[in-house]
Symmetry: D2
Subunit: 338 residues, 4 copies
């Protein structure tokens, strides 16, 4: 950790600060320049927090050199983590996975029918929301436990592992029993109590990036889950909020190589939420595959305009199939299977 003091910091204040760090077992190396006065702290600084040090009025700037995450850090775990979701492997050089399904489970018939369709199109897993985070208290909030059970039924009929969003720790038993990949949504990426709770689950976790989360904050949320005992985290980019309103969000594909360089975790892309527009899903899915994504999660509905939620960003099964065929060619072009 590098600490820059103000130019006019009095010698006794500098001495006091130096002593404080040394008492924490850190070695303090100083550099004096014309306009600055810099310390390098050598030792384990993982328990120091930048903002706390900034509270000293003589401190101008604090810069962390080593990343604040350990368990997710590629430096301490050089091999790729491959997450096993009920037999489907995600990450490393495994086959690129495709997760398809409706935004919301709307009933047994709907989810079983769409499950069948996405399975025939070549999907590896089925998605479907039973608990829905909706901006309005008056909007459809999901079928709840009933939806979870119907999703499990769709899995039995098709053999596809199922993915669904968990919004509250009091539903963990339901998810542990019925869901294969537990999704933490963008709005809950920093719901730290929920992160701790899924850290104790045996099921793998799909961690969506928060709407305006930095890459480091996102990795730190993965670290929460891992530090509580669950190493099976899949990162999921779903677009970030920017000034541009033509698309629902702005898809940030640079995170694919960055997550792979900084961490050992798999990363998949959600072009449905990233764009909010079914017309943009295919080109951005191909882009994600070309950039090295380990998977895609795509909303599929057989009657988008009658969907109970998010129809505008859902693909019809036939378009989903075309997308998979094209994406497979791009995957081959970069030397991966799909």
């Amino acid at each position: 950790m590098i600490i820059t003091l103000k130019k006019n910091a009095p010698a006794d204040e500098v001495a006091k600060l130096t002593k404080a760090f040394e008492e924490k077992g850190l070695q303090v190396n100083e550099i004096k320049g014309q306009d600055f006065n810099v310390f390098g702290l050598v030792g384990d600084t993982s328990h120091l927090y930048e903002r706390d040090i900034l509270a000293n009025i003589w401190v101008e700037n604090v810069q962390r050199v080593s990343a604040p995450y350990k368990l997710a850090n590629r430096m301490f775990h050089p091999e790729d983590t491959i997450v096993d979701v009920a037999g489907i492997k995600v990450g490393g050089n495994e086959k690129i996975v495709v997760i398809g399904g409706p935004c919301s489970v709307e009933g047994r018939d709907q989810i079983c029918r769409i499950a069948q369709e996405v399975s025939e199109c070549g999907a590896d897993m089925l998605r479907g929301g039973a608990y829905k985070p909706r901006t309005s208290p008056y909007a459809f909030q999901g079928l709840g436990y009933e939806g979870i059970l119907e999703l499990a039924e769709a899995r039995e009929k098709t053999g596809l592992p199922v993915v669904s969003e968990l919004m509250s720790a009091d539903k963990i038993d339901e998810f542990e029993a019925n869901v294969d990949l537990v999704q933490i949504g963008a709005r809950n990426m920093q719901n730290f109590d929920l992160l701790k709770a899924v850290g104790h689950m045996s099921k793998p976790v799909l961690l969506k990036r928060g709407m305006s989360a930095t890459i480091e904050e996102w990795i730190m949320s993965a670290e929460y889950i891992m530090a509580n005992g669950n190493p099976n985290v899949i990162m999921c980019e779903r677009g970030i909020r920017t000034y541009e309103k033509y698309t629902r969000n702005t898809m940030d594909l640079a995170v694919i190589p960055i997550i792979k360089e900084r961490t050992h975790l798999p990363i998949i892309i959600d072009p449905s939420h990233a764009t909010g527009d079914y017309r943009l899903i295919e080109p951005l899915s191909l882009a994600a595959v070309a950039a090295g994504a380990d998977g895609l999660i795509i909303e599929v509905h057989d009657h988008p305009s009658a969907a109970w939620s998010d129809g505008a960003q859902s693909l019809k099964p036939e378009k989903f199939q075309t997308l998979i065929e094209k994406a497979r060619k791009v995957a081959h072009a970069i030397g991966r299977e799909m």
Copy 2:
């Protein structure tokens, strides 16, 4: 609700869509232009959701005319809501309130000592975090229930009502019993299960704006609390995330007149989190008062550089006192008490 169709929408698709709306009890008025084809829906559209309508491939654009919130809407509730926090009134033309205290409760002595100090400086309420949302799982997470009890003790000694952040629904009994104003933090602004839960509490709620929440999303989160039975919501601006990194966040003061025009709820400002820099707190506090804020919530610590969290944005009591004195003059200049 105004719906614009694509120029080349076929007549039978238009007829189908018209019929679908009429079956929902809405009257459909059409305007045809050279380049467009527009419907106005007359009737109660509060259960329609823009994105769902956009799923129809012939729809180009959907625009809501009336706001999607009802209970928080100034239009249906013209008088100011004045929230009573253990006898302290917030909103309307009441005295502008000042809430002061440390970021975290660090122990009985610390919180009682600072409570005494902020009380002497003129604060109306005491803040202190017992459950802390920290980006890192390795950072101090707050004293928990012990901190809540110590906060209650500080209230007994000073008479100041206490404000603390609730992060999880399973702590609601603790907060109902001991806390006077229940804070929902920025990271949980769209933790809808938590919003529903505080909707059932008898205590008033301080609802912070999410890091990148639009004003409408923020009001919709207030609507969640109100629709679940709790009308006592105080809005709190704490800065939004922008590209500018000189400050921790960018304080958006335009929300003061906007929240007052669109809703009947009180609004207070948190310049500590908005800026993250103790040197900026005083000028931005004066600005907030001048713009019409109903209160300020400010971090105060008697040893900022030794604080367990967020020292960099904490004021010392003497600076807090000066701030209150200056802010009082600004309040008088715009015709309010403080």
Copy 3:
């Protein structure tokens, strides 16, 4: 254009407004709802400006239905525009072009040597800055006219058409005489006098998206050039400014299908400026090709760490060659040549 009035707009004000539009030759269609009062204007509204209408205090909202651009609009010009840059065709189903070269021309030897190298790697054009927009007045500002002449010399030696940034209208003769594709940089995207000036040039223009320009503003800047007589505009995405600081900017690939749907102009991608990090250029280049880009513009330098500017985002020639080979495979996967 759809105009929503406030609920309580008095009848005489509504009549006055209606009359004003009718006097401009527009037909005014009204829809009355419970909570709203909406006008649709039928006729040519291209001379009306939303903000001007909002000045009427009884107007709540104004929404443009037809896009404010005409010449760039796909609706009025359904076929793809193919821009000819000294014989290299860009757009439509033409071969995807690759533009390579250093950030800055640093001298005759450097530019001729790198030109040779990028040509051997398979580039179609040579880039090189002679006038450099630098944040600091103390940083290297480019070689100026000397650099332009050296660039022209490199063209003679290699046959590659050359691309360079024009920052000021008083250099137009230089560029008209020596440069094949005139770049307008991000910082000048709304330097309207410069846009008008290049509108009068005979050379095609590469129009970079402004750092925080909306897609519509960007297209409107193309419209400026086209409306002044130059139809040969190539759009270039170079990343937008967001809160995320891990990358220099956030590359917005959704613009590729959007620009192609809304306009008939070619679009190329600049992953060097979008990311600012040479390690991210290859994956994001492949992504851009997969998403349908008509070209790539990439900074190449044979000694990046000795480059006079932007070395951090420059590729060495051998990496540039590998990138082209991989990108070619992706291009074939989506049915295009490169």
Copy 4:
């Protein structure tokens, strides 16, 4: 300047880098930690550019300790700069100035009439655009030189110094002869050739912050003007572009204390462009004064709904007068005149 190398940087590369800096006359101090390897460069680093150093593949991070601006820097010029605009003093503890007037000069009668009105309301200067930066090539582009002459006429009639926007260096003679304060608009904040040109003028410059400019970039643009010979720069905040669309931009008032701490230049606030909504101008003007602004620039029009541009953000003269009266009280509350 602090340079962090990658953990695994080979010794010979480190030696090579050290030598390169020493050859530039810098002293290189090294700190070695477990996970890092840090250099501090002592000496004049103003000619080094962070991104250029990052081009070395063994460099992880570069951090500038001293600010990259010199002439604008408070450290080297501790006293406030007071800019004299035709006798009106701006900055320091001088009277807070108010600049009022229409967005565009629309003709002799209009500008003289409004000049008279704003003068009677208490304005210190008159604003009015003759060259207008408009997003659309089809929108009114300003009256040009005719407008400049009419503005000068309004000055003669009222005695108010005049402010107008310069968009192109070829109009400098017109402005030197007729305008008292030369405005550089947000869209041209990084039009470096224009900055250099106004650096050679004798008239003071009002430098608006770019739509998404960082504070440092904005100060660097002031530095461009100053380094070219013109020390009389007034900074002007006009809101930044964020995801929030309720207001036209988000007004960032933290810049007031920051610009005053980092530089010695005056700063004024433009709430008209910052909000785009006449209803928000008064509260945000009061906020700006309370936060320490040296002035306000406000759009005033006697018939906003008939204005040729930006009527939605213009105040009528009577509201402008009320605003000044209220702002004066706030100014007195913080110990300043207005």
